[in-house]
Chain length 394, copies 2
């Protein structure tokens, strides 16, 4: 009886699907407010309590205007004054890149702030999160984000990194600090962790909660964008690579820059504790893959490892890295829950099984899952917030 | 005879003007190169040796696309693949804000970097200048730009400033430095002087040339945006103000923030020489007007004054500011040459005459004119470059 009812219901739904979609509109909750990522004084885009984005732009001569967010395009509707407005479906809490389409042109929303991601400077929007307090700007002691220009011998060029120095760094000029090297993802750059990631606010707030929460340390955010290795045949444009992906040696360029240029430069210019026990590396997505490759190859250099949405470390990996088991004090692996649901596991196999195996081998390992988020910044803000308290405490 | 010829010529020109404009096209020099202000990897916009900007964007369904730069709109032309391309007239050397219009929508160019000016984050483009070497990124010792978050009592809110610390600041932690408070113009913010102004590179290069060029000092760049004073009647929207412009007391809010919050915060957090002989203030346009008002009211606080495209100081001003003549060691005034040609003199009367009068009264005064530039960033980069060597040398 129950199965028959379900069967009938399925037929009704499938037959009348199109009709339903047009006639039974889900009501939108009309409590939209300007996004915190808007340019000063701008009323749009707005976000409501469901996490819907309402975009609006004046384009009186346009034929079609769309909001493009999370890989879905939503048609905006024109009013009599030539202003187009429309809503997206509910979005995950946290930060999202988006853009507008105006008569076939993909452009940034002129009302939003801009962020570097998806290989371009473009619009971003903040969907208020239940846990947003941990990355809120508060009246607590603040560290600084410093733009640091330096010459890289291994690249024979000037480069830029951003360096977070914790609160108090300028006061007591004798104190030395551990260092975390923190890498962005593919299509992002050295601005990602401070602009989208809110690294400084996450750390300032943690440190303000007291030493039980997190020890103060320096964070270095450099550009890990990689070029195709010269000794590996490059697939033709539009073709899928025939060999392994990413190609062998893909992380070598940044590994060389990090070990030969960045770390010595940081140790020479900041009051660091310049040894393996006080040096960590972490990264998100591509930056997590780089962290995995570089720390496995250099257990003498890094003691604490964080891989956010970028794979995990297996016992095979550990067995092939002499000294890793003895010298590395922490392996932290994290994912957004939706990544695990979609089986987007990344490199190194099942992250949960890998973590369990490392634990059984007495390696200090943590596995964190960000609830109801995908391969996106809210997963990585939370990952940093969970990771930081484990650092440099052993 | 000569006059008759001229007369005939004028008739010919005026009669056939429209026809001439259409048929005799001035040839465009085809040596366009991608602008240095493009997003990574973008081929457009481009600039040629005449200073023309060539913009290009894919907008296959659009009816009209325009490049909008220096208050002039230029029509782009569509090719068979739906890409619109077109050129501007030659622009002044240096930095310019611009935007695109797509079927009536004003949007940033998705291919450019973004800057805050004209009261919005939007596109900017660099026209290579003959003297661009003085603000080029070179392999010399570099200072840092630090993002500094702080609580302002007088505003009861968190605020942000950017602080330039000179090369060497992190090495010798006993050395103390003079401070320049450097203000942006109207519709700009605390990011202007480092992003568009290239303040850090100008100073790094000057300092690298040796002490004869410029002494190292700290530069503080805060947000001087002002609100209409509460005790002055506000003109209705669209109406011109009936009283004096700007209204009396317009600079009081920032003056209070600067004197009560910013200066004490900087002196508490940086190794400053915290006295009048080692404290300067300068600004461009609105920031120059603020500098004029604030330094005239506080000759006990500031010893060196720079006003770039923002008026000048007259002997009347000096006579009404007790102590100014004795205590202030430098009054520097500058303009772009095109501003003087257009008689855009600003506040305080004729800047050249005022400067001469101050000189005659034995006040150390300099008047600088930036060649072939208007009310724009190239005038202000050059002004800082001319101003800095005079600072803190007496």
């Amino acid at each position: 009886m129950r199965q028959t009812l379900l069967f009938i219901l399925l037929i009704v739904v499938s037959v009348s699907g199109t009709c339903l979609a047009q006639s039974v509109q889900i009501p939108v909750v009309e409590d939209f407010k300007p996004a915190s990522t808007n340019q000063p004084g701008r009323q749009y885009p707005q976000v409501n309590s469901e996490g819907r984005v309402r975009a609006s732009i004046s384009a009186p001569e346009a034929q079609r205007v769309q909001l493009d967010i999370s890989a879905v395009k939503y048609d905006l509707v024109k009013d009599t004054s030539g202003v187009w407005t429309g809503d997206s479906d509910p979005q995950d809490e946290g930060f999202h890149y988006y853009q507008l389409w105006i008569d076939g042109a993909a452009v940034p929303d002129p009302a939003s702030l801009y962020f570097y991601g998806a290989s371009r400077w473009g619009s971003g929007i903040e969907i208020p999160a239940k846990d947003q307090d941990f990355y809120a700007l508060k009246n607590v002691p603040h560290g600084q984000i410093r733009e640091h220009l330096y010459f890289s011998k291994s690249n024979n060029s000037m480069r830029r990194c951003f360096v977070y120095t914790p609160p108090g760094y300028n006061k007591d000029t004798t104190k030395r600090y551990p260092v975390l090297y923190l890498q962005h993802g593919g299509g992002e750059d050295e601005t990602g962790w401070s602009n989208q990631g809110r690294t400084n606010l996450i750390m300032d707030n943690l440190i303000a909660e007291g030493k039980a929460k997190a020890k103060p340390f320096i964070i270095v955010m450099d550009n890990g964008t990689w070029r195709w290795p010269e000794n590996v045949p490059r697939p033709r444009r539009g073709e899928r690579p025939s060999g392994p992906w990413p190609p062998a040696g893909w992380a070598d360029g940044f590994k060389k820059t990090l070990l030969e240029d960045i770390i010595p430069m940081i140790d020479a210019n900041y009051r660091t504790l310049a040894d393996q026990p006080h040096r960590a590396m972490a990264g998100l997505s591509m930056g997590g893959m780089q962290t995995r490759v570089i720390t496995l190859a250099n257990p003498d250099v890094f003691s604490h490892v964080g891989i956010f949405s970028g794979g995990s470390i297996s016992m095979d990996d550990v067995d092939n890295s002499p000294g890793f088991k003895e010298k590395v004090k922490l392996v932290f692996v994290s994912y957004g829950s939706r990544e695990l649901e979609n089986r987007r596991m990344g490199f190194g196999g099942d992250p949960k099984a890998n973590t369990e195996a490392l634990k059984e081998a007495s390696i200090n390992t943590h596995f964190y899952v960000s609830p109801n988020t995908a391969h996106e910044w809210q997963s990585w803000r939370r990952s940093l917030h969970e990771f930081a308290p484990f650092l440099f405490k052993d």
